[in-house]
């Protein structure tokens, strides 16, 4: 509000100058951000693959070994082997097509059980073992959870007295 310069129409030349100055400033901001974006994408972008994808990639480009990747797969039942100290574990992951042994140092989340879907981040070594640095277990039915007939509880449901007296049957 203070110091408004009143009256005189600004000259054409000054307008052009102000405008080009603003554009130069905008270009500096834009290119700095662009540069930061490019470099950080290079640093943090990770392939998100299935074991089959990973096997194909490794076959085509040997440099894929020792490169950080993310792999989404299922834990093969009965393969979880926990270290007695609780600090590390190993298991096998698969997508049906390809299976990789995984070793992980750290504490597994409690959703990590047989047959569950996992996302591991880490590197594949030349022997074909995947060394995971992070381990996430996904519950497949997180928000969409209609009761299904295939659910083990279905027969129980049907036989419980509640089923017949369900407050809304026939409503």
């Amino acid at each position: 509000m203070q110091g408004i310069s009143l009256g005189t129409a600004p000259s054409r030349r000054r307008l052009v100058k102000a405008r080009s100055k603003f554009i130069i400033g905008a270009l500096i901001v834009g290119s700095t951000s662009g540069y930061l974006a490019m470099t950080s994408i290079k640093d943090t972008a990770q392939y998100y693959l299935t074991p089959t994808d990973l096997a194909a990639k490794v076959q085509n480009e040997p440099r894929f070994i020792d490169k950080g990747v993310k792999v989404g797969a299922l834990v093969v039942k009965g393969t979880i082997n926990r270290d007695p100290s609780g600090r590390s574990l190993s298991f096998k992951m698969t997508d049906g097509g390809h299976t990789y042994p995984v070793s992980y140092v750290g504490i597994a989340p409690d959703t990590f059980t047989d047959g569950v879907e996992v996302v591991v981040e880490g590197k594949l070594d030349s022997q074909g073992t995947f060394h995971a640095t992070t381990l996430l277990a996904k519950c497949s039915s997180r928000y969409e959870n209609a009761p299904e007939k295939t659910m083990p509880g279905y027969d129980n449901y049907k036989n419980t007295p509640g089923y017949k007296n369900s407050p809304t049957r026939g409503a």
Binding site: R19, Q46, Y47, P147
Partner: protein
């Protein structure tokens, strides 16, 4: 009631279709009778959507498990409050909630702007009707909340325990209230573009809705962060997750619009830009909904893959095409008649503010869509981590923080050296003092130092503005300090409310600065074992395990780890983190185990404890985070919301005529009923 609700949904669909058709036809032919019919049927759409919603609520509360939605998200032993919030906990219900709010907003917007913006009305009503029509179509054909199962379970699956949290009960509706409000400015923009009435008049109506949208989005985002922090157990509140981003994007363009609109009001500049921002904000809300609901991008809290995604994609493409076409064909009408005069002016500061906000928006959008883009273009799905977002948005955020201080102080058109000196001496001194103090205390992180330097500077500018304003009032009206301060704010709500919002932003940035000093560690503690760690302030913490206990409680089996904490030898009390196994009325486990974290909170820092698992029956795996200054993120959010309320509150003199959205509702509802009866 349930059947009535189901039928109402279809009637609402027909009403919305009618609204769209007759309003556009009325606009093209210039027949006001058709537009009146469109207005009435828009009100009727709202009424029938209310009935449809009431029907679903009835189904939820009477536990009608033959309805898939009810069986999927509730159970008999679910507390009443969460039975109510289940309305928006799942895909179909949340869409219905969306339609409910959208039709309500549409009715209120049309009722309150009918007199002042008559030439635009055919197109505004038509556009709002079309958006309602789309949502109702997605509901009826994509995800119908009334879909039945072919058997009736005795009990439903219940609600995901992580959603059973007070923040989760109100966070989604707040976000929806914010996202949906963006539809009204969009409709006005379409109207203004079609009729080529692109002066500042349409902006007045739009500004109120843009503010409302901004207010709810701000609250929703902050609450969402708080929920993630206390419930998800990874020790942070913002992960640049696709779903978080999708609500953040329209907030950015909306904030940019609220600033650039001032330049158009004061100087007549940026007309193209403002229309673009309004349309982009709406399109981003639809894009965000698409991302959230289609399952195209992995996210911790996405809905599962669903056909609704295709509906949203189709709508997004259509709406984008329309927006681009309208703006492209009206470029000449949007020509500004004024140009930027100087780099050292408020206009320039606002332009850079917009540049920073839109830059953050672009970077975030790019990062969010990168998994899809890389799959298309590079032939392999790649994901990018939070480092990307921090690297790009960090500097832009600091630029924004700086402009928060510069913008309000610098003169319009061209600032003189005298103006600069008078306005900036004290704030710059304040920033320098903060910087030197922190440096002397041993802070060396450049990002954090920069943040606090700017925070000091901006706080200085805000304090200076208040001090000057209060002093002026005391001189002119000989008022005492408190009434002068009160009247200063209440007589200039827009300006001083804005400063309060800015102060909230500063407080929040102070919290972000604290993130630079986070640390965390994992421990395996046998009962009685202890470990010692040092936090960022140099305090020594000792954590001693008091063992693991197991017990049943309500609808869950609980395993709890207890740790006694001391800071520099001083007792800080017990910290208890729980693993919860949730069971239904039949005693079967119905959800994955969840974790209740413990947060020892103080203004200086949060000590955040997560019980991650048991190595054996008396060895607990515990993850501890030292999170400095987290509390200030919530405080900043509250301050921003208060500032937003002050800005939105109608001025006393104008209140009777204009009305806020709250004051407007009853009369709108009355009109609606009349409209439905005719």
């Amino acid at each position: 009631m349930i059947l009535l609700g189901e039928l109402s949904l279809w009637v609402a669909l027909l009403m919305a279709a009618w609204t769209t058709m007759v309003s556009f036809a009325g606009g093209v032919q210039g027949r006001m009778d058709l537009v009146h019919s469109g207005k009435r049927s828009l009100y009727a759409t709202f009424v029938f959507t209310v009935v449809a919603s009431a029907g679903l609520l009835t189904a939820l509360f009477t536990h009608d498990f033959s309805i898939k939605f009810v069986a999927s998200y509730t159970s008999i032993n679910l507390p009443k409050i969460y039975t109510f919030t289940a309305f928006w906990a799942g895909q179909a219900g949340s869409l219905l909630f969306w339609a409910l709010v959208l039709t309500a907003y549409s009715a209120v917007a049309v009722a309150s702007s009918w007199k002042n913006n008559k030439p635009l009305m055919p197109w505004v009503i038509g556009t709002l009707g079309a958006v309602c029509l789309f949502f109702l179509m997605a509901l009826c054909f994509g995800a119908n909340p009334y879909e039945r199962l072919d058997w009736t379970p005795a009990d439903g699956r219940g609600m995901n325990p992580q959603l059973q949290n007070p923040a989760m009960a109100i966070h989604p509706p707040l976000l929806y209230l914010g996202l949906i409000a963006a539809a009204v400015p969009f409709a006005f923009a379409v109207g203004a573009l079609i009729t080529r009435k692109l002066d500042t008049e349409w902006l007045a109506a739009v500004r109120r809705w843009a503010l409302l949208s901004w207010f709810f989005l701000t609250l929703g985002l902050v609450l969402g962060g708080w929920w993630a922090y206390v419930e998800l157990g990874w020790g942070g509140y913002w992960a640049w997750d696709a779903v978080e981003n999708s609500a953040f994007l329209p907030w950015l363009t909306g904030t940019a619009f609220l600033h650039s609109i001032m330049i158009q009001e004061k100087r007549g500049m940026l007309r193209k830009w403002n229309v673009t921002l309004v349309m982009a904000t709406f399109l981003l809300t639809i894009l965000g909904t698409f991302i959230t609901r289609s399952g195209v991008i992995n996210s911790v809290h996405a809905f599962s893959q669903s056909p609704v995604g295709d509906w949203f994609l189709g709508f997004l493409v259509l709406a984008t095409a329309l927006s681009v076409y309208l703006i492209a064909t009206r470029l000449n009408d949007l020509q500004a008649n004024v140009e930027l005069e100087s780099m050292v002016s408020r206009e320039a500061a606002f332009l850079y503010n917009n540049l920073a906000l839109v830059g953050i928006c672009f970077a975030t959008l790019w990062g969010t869509l990168y998994p899809i883009l890389s799959e298309w273009l590079l032939g392999g799905k790649q994901e990018i981590g939070p480092e990307f977002f921090n690297a790009v948005n960090g500097p832009l955020g600091l630029l924004l923080l700086m402009l928060t201080g510069v913008g309000p102080l610098i003169a319009w058109r061209r600032a003189s050296t005298v103006n600069l000196k008078r306005q900036f001496t004290w704030p710059l001194t304040a920033g320098a003092v903060v910087f030197v103090t922190l440096f002397a205390l041993g802070m060396r992180d450049p990002y954090a130092l920069m943040t606090y330097l700017l925070a000091g500077f901006v706080t200085g500018t805000i304090v200076q503005e208040f001090v000057k304003g209060i002093a002026a009032r005391r001189r002119m009206y000989e008022e005492k300090l408190a009434p002068a301060a009160f009247r200063l704010v209440t007589r200039n709500r827009r300006r001083y409310g804005g400063y309060i919002v800015h102060f909230g932003v500063v407080v929040m940035f102070c919290a972000f600065g604290g993130l630079m000093f986070r640390s965390d560690f994992q421990m395996l503690l046998k009962t009685g074992d202890a470990q010692t760690h040092t936090d960022a302030y140099g305090h020594t913490w000792t954590f001693t395990s008091r063992g693991i206990s197991q017990f049943d409680f309500l609808n869950r089996q609980v395993t709890a780890a207890t740790v006694a904490a001391t800071r520099d030898g001083k007792d800080m009390g017990l910290m208890v983190s729980e693993k919860r196994m949730h069971v239904n009325t039949q005693g079967q486990q119905n959800f994955e185990a969840s974790t209740e974290v413990y947060i020892l909170s103080s203004p200086k820092q949060d000590v955040y404890m997560v019980f991650t698992g048991m190595a054996d029956k008396d060895t607990a795996a515990i993850h501890i985070f030292f999170n400095p200054l987290v509390m200030w993120a919530w405080v900043g959010g509250i301050v921003m919301a208060i500032g937003g309320l002050i800005v939105m509150w109608p001025q006393a003199t104008a209140r009777a005529r204009q009305g806020g959205y709250v004051a407007e509702l009853p009369s709108a509802a009355r009109e609606t009923l009349v409209g439905a009866g005719v």
